[in-house]
Symmetry: C2
Subunit: 452 residues, 2 copies
């Protein structure tokens, strides 16, 4: 009896080892193919340099739709199509922020309106600046202290965290809620210190929110250096700010997400890999999220090139309008639900084209435990961290429908130096780091396609 | 009895957990201090922009000695001194490589002589180029096939490896041995394809070797694009190359390594953290190894600033002449042996100022197992990989004396794009990535100082 058990354990052990070896060889083939022949880097150059930034509603975004359609065909997708989606049209227009002290001259500040912010309708709006360092400090201010003032939310990005996304989420509360908070106490507009890990003067735009029945006051952002200077000035003097901006929401427009797939050989249940095709209207949207787009297209290309016979349908989705509405993701989820299309799994890459370190898993324990059991296959590629519990915002609607979702976790140190700025350019992307992200997503999808 | 055991296990368990919590708080203090107040980034800017590259024997190297001395004092070292060391003086001089086909004109190639290579004494040396792709292919050539020829070692850097250092070591064999191999079969000089992961035309210099009693023929290197073009040309035509170079070794010179330390409170046994102060003579020596220098100085600064009472002496060593002789490391080892100075541990940072991923451990199992047992303290800082078994070349002499040694393991994707080139500049270094390397070394030294 004992011998039999030992033997059967041995046989199981050998089968497990044989399986590991086979998967490990496939992982290596995927890595070699992409690191040697990957097209993602040159495609990202094309997207960033020949189209550039591509905010929802812009002509550039429409160009990028055609571009993605072509690239998915080039990658060898069996089917490529556009998915209709109504997207908001926000336009920056002219904008200028000036400050002055009682004894001084007006001085222009380097600034950006936050995305989705209304402007001043081309008129000057001015008032005295009051500064707060935290939401708690703002909460303590009375309405009469804020009335007709300009509120400067000067909360610094916390450099202490080794994981920058924690600092980003903390500081993000200010970007999202500053306008609402300011309006509630009768302030005229809000100035927000940028969510930036860099020691420079580059303002970082990004999404802000309004609430129904609360006045839509403008929200603008300034870089770290300007914020420091303003703070210093406010220590000794009253400072007046004057904003003039034509920014604003200009209705909606019909546009598209772009989808390509390789048909499943066994069934048509769908594995999604995606990123968002839109970007903010400054810089080139290289890391955010040109990277996720070219990485996702590369996954399809690699399956085709290596002739991997996928059981399930593998679909690359270039989502529309992540930055200021996530309408693409919402429409994709709705369409999947309406058409009763079974989704097996979805992964998004939207944290920059940096060296991958992990995969964040938003799914039940059974599924996440299985993926975590593959860690030794991933370790040679620098991927060790499966502890995150979130996934991308474009695939959140799929997650709400019960689909196991995930996000690629790249190294987070450089992202918030350049995120949503004029500095998010192709030059900031490294070829091997970008391609490795695609390697890891292809490897994961290979495993899920085979085992689920 | 059983109760007693359970209780005692519980007590031990709580003590272990209490210890973990205490260390974890200290890790966090170290990280916050360095990420918020670290001086390494601005010091690296000063070193690279105001001194620049600093090859052994150059005036710039001597400036960097004074610079490091001052920075160690600024960091609060209890003692700072220079350690005398004889270093080789290699000088690049003028250099030019041209090629031509029978029906063509002479055409200048972008090139660099390899470090330590002799030149042509200012005369033209020319001959027909023969190309090999591998050492095996070269081995098959007869002496008459190589005699009076120029050998082009066109071995490409293997992009397939996720771990670029494997590709670097493979390709490194060509850089180190090309001149010897060429001379042995009567060739006139060697052209080596650069050890480069970039798809560009930047030549990468680096150390090469000669052997006694074998003619010292020159060895030069060309970037990837030029190498590809030359390969294409050689497919159809005979190509002649002409080298004219004044490079060469110009004897030796007395110079210095720079050392600073915080005296041990319990004993004077030494923990070393270091990098090399010299660099190649192109670019700014920012990642290689200005990064290791400022990171090491930061370790001392952080111990002083946080008032950590170190049991043992903590010493930052800025080694002379790593690149073309490792005389600084050798002299340091010799001095330690001659003076019977006990060394507890040594770590070097010499793989670039990128986001840290691990610590490579060259020591016996007992010590490495203990360090590996601290992995959960390091994981929040992105450090998970303790599998490497090597350490830096400057501390190899210490290792040979039985000292446990280690090396910081940063992300390896970008290093060989710029290593030993004009592109290794301050702009390629990210503040947080650089400082995190110092965080991790300070944390490790804190643990070793406390537990060893
Ligand atoms: Zn994004
Ligand atoms: Zn080095």
């Amino acid at each position: 009896m004992k011998k039999t058990v030992t033997l059967s354990l041995l046989v199981t052990g050998m089968a497990v080892f044989g399986q590991f070896k086979e998967d490990s060889i496939q992982f290596s083939k995927i890595s070699s193919e992409i690191l040697n022949n990957g097209k993602g880097y040159t495609e990202l150059k094309d997207l960033t340099k020949n189209i550039g930034n591509r905010l929802s509603g812009s002509e550039a975004y429409e160009k990028s739709v055609k571009w993605a359609e072509q690239k998915l065909r080039d990658a060898g997708a069996d089917k490529v199509w556009l998915q209709e989606v109504m997207i908001p049209v926000w336009v920056r227009g002219k904008e200028s922020l000036q400050i002055k002290t009682a004894d001084g001259q007006w001085k222009k500040l380097k600034m950006l309106s936050l995305g989705n912010s209304e402007g001043t309708g081309g008129k000057d709006v001015s008032g005295e600046i009051i500064m707060v360092k935290s939401l708690e400090e703002y909460d303590r201010l009375t309405e009469s202290q804020v009335k007709d003032k300009i509120v400067f939310f000067n909360h610094p990005f916390n450099q202490s965290y080794a994981q920058t996304f924690i600092a980003y989420r903390e500081a993000g509360a200010y970007r999202r809620s500053a306008a609402i908070l300011t309006a509630k106490k009768g302030g005229k507009f809000a100035i927000i210190r940028s969510l930036s890990s860099a020691f420079d003067d580059v303002p970082h735009t990004g999404n802000m929110r309004y609430e129904d029945n609360i006045s839509k006051v403008p929200a603008v952002t300034i870089g770290n250096t300007t914020a420091d200077e303003l703070e210093k000035l406010l220590k000794n003097k009253k400072v007046t700010a004057k904003l003039n901006s034509n920014c604003g929401m200009k209705g909606e427009k019909l546009s598209h997400s772009v989808i390509g797939e390789i048909t499943g050989k066994k069934d048509q249940s769908v594995i999604v890999v995606g990123g968002h095709l839109d970007s903010w209207d400054v810089g080139e949207g290289a890391h955010d999220d040109g990277a996720g787009i070219v990485q996702s297209i590369e996954v399809l290309r690699t399956f085709k090139k290596l002739g991997i016979q996928n059981n399930h349908t593998i679909r690359a989705v270039c989502f529309a309008n992540e930055e200021n509405g996530t309408k693409g993701g919402k429409q994709y989820g709705k369409t999947a639900r309406d058409s009763n299309e079974k989704h097996l799994f979805a992964i998004e890459s939207d944290a920059g084209g940096f060296s991958p370190r992990g995969i964040s898993l938003e799914m039940d324990d059974k599924n996440s435990t299985q993926i975590q059991s593959w860690v030794n296959l991933f370790l040679p590629y620098g991927v060790y961290n499966f502890d995150g519990k979130y996934s991308g915002s474009d695939i959140a609607p799929l997650h709400e429908m019960g689909v196991p979702t995930a996000e690629l976790v790249p190294d987070p140190q450089r992202y918030f130096d350049i995120h949503h700025t004029e500095e998010d350019t192709f030059e900031k992307v490294n070829r091997r780091e970008l391609l490795l992200g695609s390697v890891v997503m292809t490897q994961l999808i290979y495993m899920i396609d085979k085992n689920w």
